[in-house]
Amino acid sequence: MDELSIVGQVVGGSFGDVVIRQKAGTDLEIGDLMVSEENGSFLILQVFALEYGSQIQDKMQQMMSGVNLEQGVVDANFYEPDFVNYVLARIKPLARVFRENGDVKIPKSLPSFFNKLRLIGKDDLSFLQKENDQIFVGHIRSGSKVIKEAEVWLPAEDVFSHHVLIPATTGRGKSNLVKTILWHVLDTNKVGALVLDAHDEYFGRTGVGLKDHPRAKDNMVYYTPSNPPVGANRLTINLQTIRPEHFEGIVDFSDPQFQAIRMAHRQHRENWIQELMRVNVTPMEMGADTRRQGDFAAGTMMVVQRKLRLILSLEVDEEQVIVSRHEVFDSTTRGITTVDDIVRDIEQGKVVVLDTSRLGDEAELLVGNIIASKLLQKYKDAKATGELERKPVATIVIEEAPRVIGEDVLTSRNDNIYSTIAKEGRKFKVGLTAITQLSSVIPKTILANMNTKIILGNEMKQEREAIIASASQDLSEDDKNIASLDKGEAIITSIFVPFAMPIKIPLFEDIVKNRATEVNTGKTKVF
């Protein structure tokens, strides 16, 4: 090993908490990756804590400081300070890489005592080879240093079907990460995605976005409620495509209210919303508790009508026809096929971005619910007929995930499609990509099912603890590491990576800029 590259030496500790002395003149950081050369293999280790070490007793150091501070004329120094005072780094082994075949294993032994360590280099990470159908998430990061040559690619089908969690607080680069992931999903038709874009930030209506991908015209479909840009679709969903179960876990209906809804659906099939809204409930009937509408109390009907009216913007026109003034929901003939079209696109491995920025919370989740239900059903059917293997894996990207898979939602209301997918979607190649600031409110059973977590910076201790507790690798010593993650820095913990990988996600704008523009094929013939 080149003496100049040495940054420290193993001096003590135990498995998972090895102590090294930092070489004078080097500047180790939390998160730095280093290498310990072993016989036939090398260990990759990571710094998780830094502290001072000294050969001089604490009291003596404090006295010397007193001399310096209080008797300003005298400047007391240590004799050979580099030998006497130093930094101790606490490091943990992440992986053992075998030189012969490039195998990466979980380490089960300590680095050799007194072994000299160096910082990791690109050649040490040659096992990170991109294979077919993988998605790029970023470059390996050692502390704050980015190793540009070491790209991290994840196996798309496995990762998306086993769910992805992206926990982060605002301003830590969530959108940039999601755009980066989707950008690489657009490269092939191996992954279909439904993206509920609550901030209309992925398509790139005003700046760069997924629309700038060379294959966007073929592989991406964008729906927006009004004034769609050229080539985009209008997001219109016909009321006839809504079924009672789509409200489950989304809207707070009581049991009798749900029964009233189900009864209306049984009686009037696809026209159930219009018919239910037509039921005349007078205030007088409200007062007389014994008077009932069908089998339901007038009060129940009124509440159901009011909730539907608010969520779906329903009004009654002068001819007593129920119409929806909602930007998205339509009571006439429009949008009958939107859900089918979207599901078909996802089944073809396309990325479908829905601009839900102008929808209320419940309306957004309802739209997602309608589509996700149909998608899951289609994939279940495909499994039954043996066709699932030919389908691309499908993922549903949802922001503020606790709205649908939060503990309070799932205990106070019935399961919804998102929690169903989180629990059983994997069997049918349908997964969630859940983005959240609050991982701690997602039930452990669901968090444990999310087998890939791309952890961005988070200053909330409670959230970090929830993430660490459910990580696929042992992150028990990484609390400070996570807290100190800067914008665009992340840690990937997944059953599909050999160790928890520190990464730096590139700027999406740079990815777009670096992508070679397609060669202009010249004039187009028009007949």
């Binding site: 050229v230 080539g231 679709n233 209008r234 096929t337 004039k523 007949f527």
Partner: protein, 418 residues
């Protein structure tokens, strides 16, 4: 001022002689209506003919009628549809255009920067400005719209009409309307009227920036499914549009075509015998004379073959009662007993063997050579034989008998065996 908008006439589609007459009559009636209502011009955005060069019979009556319209001083503006389009101007549309009976609207220029500019054609009498693009099969025309210089089109003032031939996804009204549809946002904004073709049912909608997007639908039938829709009450005809500076009214003019009867049978969880019985019962109740009779059997039989649902006797019976035409649809009919199970394999050969092995057990034949391993071997031989390509310079009338005779030989049959 008034113009007519027709589309998807599909002249030459019908194979049945009686329906060919109806097809002709409907077309002629529509043109006569245009003349008698004194329209200023007629728009036909595509699929005027079912193929680019239809048979002479069709061309004869089409030319005669178009000459009549021309003589009445009514211009006809068209774009190619996905059926009558020709990349080398080798369509009967071009012939009609050459003699001056119709005018092709598309005046496109491909620019160096890979954009497409469209020029307006101005109708002399009304001053209406008309632009349009043809429709290609499987949505290949989408590229044109993506490259369209829409700024110049949108900046043009006056009464503007855009002709296009293609499905608009925003206007789909039924599930199951698969195929290539494009979003409305690909059309240039701000035209007074969007004359659409390709969707076969009348549909008139307005959107922000897109007032009056209209499909008149086919006036009779361009697909077999259209006849079924007709039997279910779909109105057919064309659209009359009154306009000045803007569109004043859009009215659908119905043209009756023929009478229909439809017999629909749900085959789900039933056996062929009971379906045959129901068909007989339902047939008794109708008067098929001079009518198109649609028989539709759909669902999954519990046992037996789909071929056990026997329409031939019913067909004979209806014919004897002067039915004009009997259209049978069994596409949606399957059988539990004969559903094909998929099988895996390392290569094509292995997959074929495994699929046959997996499914041959379902068959009940008296001939042992059609069952078990012998049956699998025979099936594979037959599949290979039927997959033989056409030889170089081999004509169709040589290829078909060669393949048929070889296949029959494999089965140990003679082509004269009935």
């Amino acid at each position: 001022m008034l113009f007519a908008h027709l589309s998807d006439i599909h002249l030459g589609f019908q194979k049945n002689e009686s329906l060919q007459k109806i097809e002709q009559q409907v077309f002629e009636k529509a043109m006569d209506e245009c003349i008698s209502r004194n329209v200023n011009f007629i728009l036909i955005p595509g699929d005027l003919f079912h193929v680019n060069i239809p048979e002479m019979r069709v061309q004869k009556y089409a030319f005669a009628k178009f000459r009549q319209v021309h003589d009445a001083g009514i211009p006809i503006y068209v774009v190619y549809g996905s059926h009558d389009f020709s990349p080398v101007s080798n369509s009967v549309i071009d012939l009609l255009s050459e003699v001056g009976y119709i005018t092709k609207v598309t005046k496109a220029t491909s620019n160096e920067n890979d954009t497409i500019s469209l020029d307006f054609l101005i109708d002399e009498k009304t001053g209406a400005k008309i632009a349009g693009l043809s429709g290609l099969k499987v949505g290949k025309d989408r590229e044109w719209y993506e490259k369209l210089d829409r700024d110049s089109l949108e900046a043009e003032s006056g009464f503007k009409i855009f002709l296009f031939h293609g499905g608009i996804s925003d206007m789909k009204t039924e599930s199951g309307m698969d195929g290539d549809h494009m979003p409305l946002s690909l059309l240039p904004k701000g035209f007074s009227y969007y004359a659409g073709g390709h969707m076969h049912k009348f549909n008139h909608q307005s959107f922000d920036g897109y007032p009056n997007v209209v499909y008149p639908g086919t006036p009779f039938a361009g697909y077999h499914a259209d006849l079924e829709d007709n039997a279910n009450g779909q109105k057919r005809g064309f659209v009359l549009v009154e306009f000045e500076d803007t569109v004043k009214s859009v009215d659908f003019v119905e043209i009756p075509n023929v009478s229909y009867e439809i017999i629909q049978v749900d085959a789900n969880n039933r056996k062929a015998e009971s379906i045959n019985q129901e068909l007989i019962e339902k047939t008794k109740d109708i008067d098929p004379a001079q009518k198109v009779v649609i028989i539709k059997v759909k669902g999954e039989l519990t046992s037996g073959k789909t071929a056990d649902v026997d329409i031939s006797g019913i067909r004979d019976e209806l014919n004897s009662r002067n039915a004009m035409m009997i259209n049978v649809s069994k596409n949606g009919l399957t059988s539990k007993e004969y559903s094909i199970t998929e099988a895996k394999g390392a290569n094509k050969e292995e997959i074929e063997t495994n699929v046959f092995s997996e499914n041959i057990g379902q068959l009940r034949f008296e001939y042992p050579e059609l069952l078990n391993d012998d049956g699998i071997k025979l099936a594979k031989k037959l599949l290979r034989e039927l997959g033989q390509p056409v030889l170089v310079n081999e004509k169709k009338n040589e290829y078909i008998p060669r393949i048929r005779d070889n296949a029959l030989a494999l089965l140990g049959l003679d082509k004269d065996d009935s």
